[in-house]
């Protein structure tokens, strides 16, 4: 009787360790596979962002850069920072309501070899005064750099 009790305890501990290990492995793998690094326009232009790997990049939609296709849902536009760095984005689908020229956005997708971000998601926030923290900080640090 005692023996089965002991055996069960051992079994329980083994199951626990296995379960914890499996969960940990799963979490680690899921984390490494599913994080999207964030890049600023300057970094994208400088070639610091990896090609053909899912990233997020954010900045302002450059005024006058939004072009729509006539026969499909394709939209082309530029994302830029407060200075001159800007990169082209292609998106096929419906843009969020608050997507506007001159507003902050985050685009998620893959950069191709010619430096175009093929986006599959565009995030514009549901508050006109809201700026994604990433974009806000990026611009703040750039303004600091601009100071003499």
């Amino acid at each position: 009787m005692m023996k089965t009790h002991r055996r069960n305890q051992l079994l329980l501990i083994a199951v626990l360790i296995l379960g914890a290990g499996a969960t940990l492995a799963l979490v680690m793998q899921a984390l490494t596979e599913n994080i999207n690094l964030f890049y600023s326009p300057a970094q994208v232009v400088a070639g610091e962002a990896p090609v053909n790997q899912r990233i997020r990049a954010g900045g302002m939609v450059v005024e006058g850069s939004v072009q729509r296709a006539v026969d499909s849902l394709q939209v082309n536009f530029l994302i830029g920072d407060l200075r001159s760095a800007q990169f082209p984005v292609v998106f096929e689908g419906i843009l969020p309501d608050l997507f506007r020229e001159g507003q902050g956005v985050i685009a998620g997708g893959n950069l191709n070899e010619s430096g175009v971000l093929i986006a599959d998601e565009i995030l514009a926030k549901h508050d006109e005064n809201y700026m994604p923290p990433e974009v806000l900080q990026m611009m703040a640090s750039e303004q600091e750099k601009n100071l003499p």
Partner: protein, 660 residues
């Protein structure tokens, strides 16, 4: 004047909370019954002043008092009056006032409905609730005062409430969610009170069970409604995004779910005592952590509250004090609870243990995914990242499947000891039955996806087991036997059925939904999932504070018209905000969801069409789970105690009379 009155009432409520934190506690320390009993009236005072303050803010909204900064930012004279009222909690400051109102309501409820507690215990519980409230009031008054004025130069017109919030969802979702969130402070208070008194017997579990179940049911309701709201309002047909703020409500829910199960084991069998206390502390800590993540702006989220670093720092300190303090107390006292009650390695206790293990681990994985961007940024000195929904799906789904399996197996389990024969004897038949049902389901829909097969199979198996259990409990008595069962049993049963229905809804929607974004000109037809959709054109309509392009769509199936849909693209005039208002053809088996994108020119529009089978089941399941939670409160067991206490009271009366 009204505004100053509201502000003043808020300060008085803070004073009340300070007294509530101190006086009953002193009473306990000095063993003075008079001081201990101040708790009730102080709780009432705190509630009344918070209510006055809340009403004052509501009056400012109704009266369009734009000299109040918060009103000016979140209202407009054109706003319909019911949205003016709900705009009270439409942004940070007012929603936190609602939070405080809910907190004081729970405190008052505890004071009113805890007659069965000893004076000593009641005083301790109320003192803890009072201390927790102090932090909330300080936060409200010093960092987020909704009564701040913009005098002397105030705007003649308000900026308007965010159009997304001008919806029925805002009226019901935040209050229910907050009732749940803040309600978790009650089991927390019970746990801390028991720790401080050193009396961690099964009684504290019985006291806190109805409260915990109620808070948890409200939280379930709030999350379910939030998901439904996001689905129809955000305009892209998603019902869960693993957004930081959703996670902030989901983590306390997971821990609270573990807590209600572990409380049941503690009450019935006296097991897991210290673990249950730890869960009660964690559940409330997670709800505070949620408040921090939502209101400090450290994470990117669709729920954008105005960001102010000062607020983040305040809540962080509050978190450190509350969590640190309670864990310290736990560390000192928990070791002295060493009562070990044994249980068989196959028993209801062990099922609950496994349930707790899985729920806690899944809450931690969600937490990790939510705050990983912060951790990563810290260690990589500034590199920003985001964690995508695939992480959560990849980790969370494999954790939930065994949970459903456990639910199915445990329906026949007994406390203390269950034999393998009892548990497994009838399973082959039930497995076969569920397999057949599942196969028919797959054949009818001709879906052969492994995930779909696995999830629907075990969900159906869970339903079969629950139905079989009811039949077993009926015995030969028929409906008479049905009435014999306790509300606790029905609550459990409804809750588990709800989970099964939700799981079926989720897996079907995820695997079998069809979605297209396309360009449509008036007269264009498209086919999706066996439905024909005709775009008949766009008309102009005017709302109270917006103008809209309203699309006219006809859905038909095999040349029979099913429904006309009118999705809108609205332009809210005060704020010049554009908003998508989708229109949905709703049914028990499927939704057809149509949203207008943008005008592309030549009267053509981009259109989003989704057909989502069983999507309603997700929320139907959630509502059943919540109803289950409420049902358990009806259990006579909690009231029987009260009667016993009253009898005991009667014998005490002469002594008390002489004391008075």
């Amino acid at each position: 004047m009204i505004i100053e009155l509201g502000h003043f009432a808020l300060i008085l409520a803070l004073a009340m909370s300070c007294c509530l934190a101190v006086l009953p506690a002193i009473g306990v320390h000095m063993e003075k019954a008079v001081l201990m009993r101040t708790g009730g009236s102080l709780a009432a005072g705190m509630f009344v002043f918070t209510l006055i303050s809340f009403i004052c803010l509501a009056l400012a909204f109704i009266g369009d008092d734009f000299s109040v900064a918060y009103v000016a930012r979140n209202s407009n004279s054109l706003l319909p009056v019911y949205y003016k009222l709900s705009a009270v909690w439409g942004a940070h400051e007012g929603s936190f006032l609602l939070w405080c109102l809910v907190m004081s309501s729970w405190t008052l409820a505890v004071a009113l409905f805890s007659q069965q507690l000893t004076d000593d215990m009641r005083a301790r519980v109320l003192a803890v609730l009072g201390s927790v409230s102090i932090g909330f009031y300080l936060f409200l008054i010093f960092t987020s005062n909704p009564f701040d004025r913009t005098l002397p130069f105030f705007p003649s017109e308000g900026t308007d409430l965010n159009p997304l919030l001008q919806d029925f969802g805002l009226i019901v979702h935040p209050p229910l969610l907050y009732i749940g969130y803040v309600g978790l402070s009650v089991p927390f208070a019970f746990a801390i009170a028991s720790l401080s008194s050193g009396k961690l017997d099964a009684a504290w579990a019985r006291w806190s069970r109805p409260w915990t179940n109620a808070a948890w049911a409200f939280l379930t309701m709030g999350i379910t409604l939030g998901s439904w709201w996001a689905y129809y309002e955000l305009g892209w047909g998603g019902w869960w995004f693993w957004d930081a703020v959703e996670n902030a409500s989901f983590m306390p829910w997971l821990i609270a779910t573990a807590l209600i199960h572990s409380l049941a084991a503690t009450e019935k069998r006296g097991v897991f005592r210290s673990w249950t206390v730890l869960l009660a502390i964690s559940a409330f800590s997670f709800s505070l952590l949620g408040a921090f993540l939502v209101r400090s702006g450290v994470l990117t989220s669709v729920h954008a509250f105005a960001v102010d670093p000062e607020r983040g720092v305040f809540i962080l300190w509050y978190l450190v004090i509350v969590i640190g303090g309670s864990l310290l107390l736990y560390g000192i006292r928990a070791g002295k609870m060493g009562v070990s009650v044994g249980f068989g390695w196959l028993s209801r206790e062990s099922f609950i243990l496994a349930n707790n293990l899985i729920l806690t681990v899944s809450a931690i994985t969600v937490l990790l995914g939510t705050i990983y961007p912060l951790i990563y940024e810290w260690f990589s000195s500034g590199q920003k990242i985001s964690v995508g929904p695939p992480y959560f799906n990849m980790v969370f789904v494999p954790l939930m499947l065994p949970l459903i399996v456990l639910m199915a197996l445990s329906s026949g389990s007994r406390w203390r000891r269950t034999t393998t024969e009892v548990l497994l004897a009838k399973q082959p038949l039930r497995l076969l039955l569920s397999g057949v049902v599942c196969l028919i389901f797959c054949l009818l829909t001709s879906t052969w996806n492994l995930w779909f097969l696995a999830v629907s199979f075990i969900s159906i198996w869970l339903i079969v087991n629950l139905l079989a259990d009811v039949r077993f409990r009926l015995g030969k008595r028929g409906f008479a036997g049905l009435l014999k069962q306790t509300p606790s049993y029905y609550g459990m049963w409804l809750g588990h059925i709800g989970i099964a229905l939700s799981a079926l809804g989720i897996v079907t929607t995820v695997i079998m939904s069809e979605e297209i974004d396309l360009l449509m000109s008036p007269g264009d037809k498209t086919q999706i999932a066996g439905y024909d959709l005709t775009f008949e054109g766009v008309e102009r309509v005017m709302g109270p504070n917006y103008s809209a392009d309203r699309g006219i769509f006809e859905i038909s199936r095999q040349d029979r018209v099913i429904e006309m849909l009118y999705p809108e693209k609205r332009l809210y005039s005060p704020s010049q905000n554009v908003m998508t208002e989708a229109d949905i053809s709703v049914s028990f088996w499927r939704d057809v969801y149509v949203a207008l994108g943008e005008p592309i020119g030549n009267q053509a529009w981009s259109v989003r069409v989704h057909v989502k089978p069983l999507v309603r089941w997700i929320w139907l399941g959630g509502i059943l789970v919540a109803i289950g939670g409420f049902t358990t409160i009806l259990d006579k067991r909690y009231r029987r105690l009260k009667i016993a206490r009253q009898q005991q009271f009667r014998s005490d009366t002469p002594v008390q009379a002489s004391l008075a």
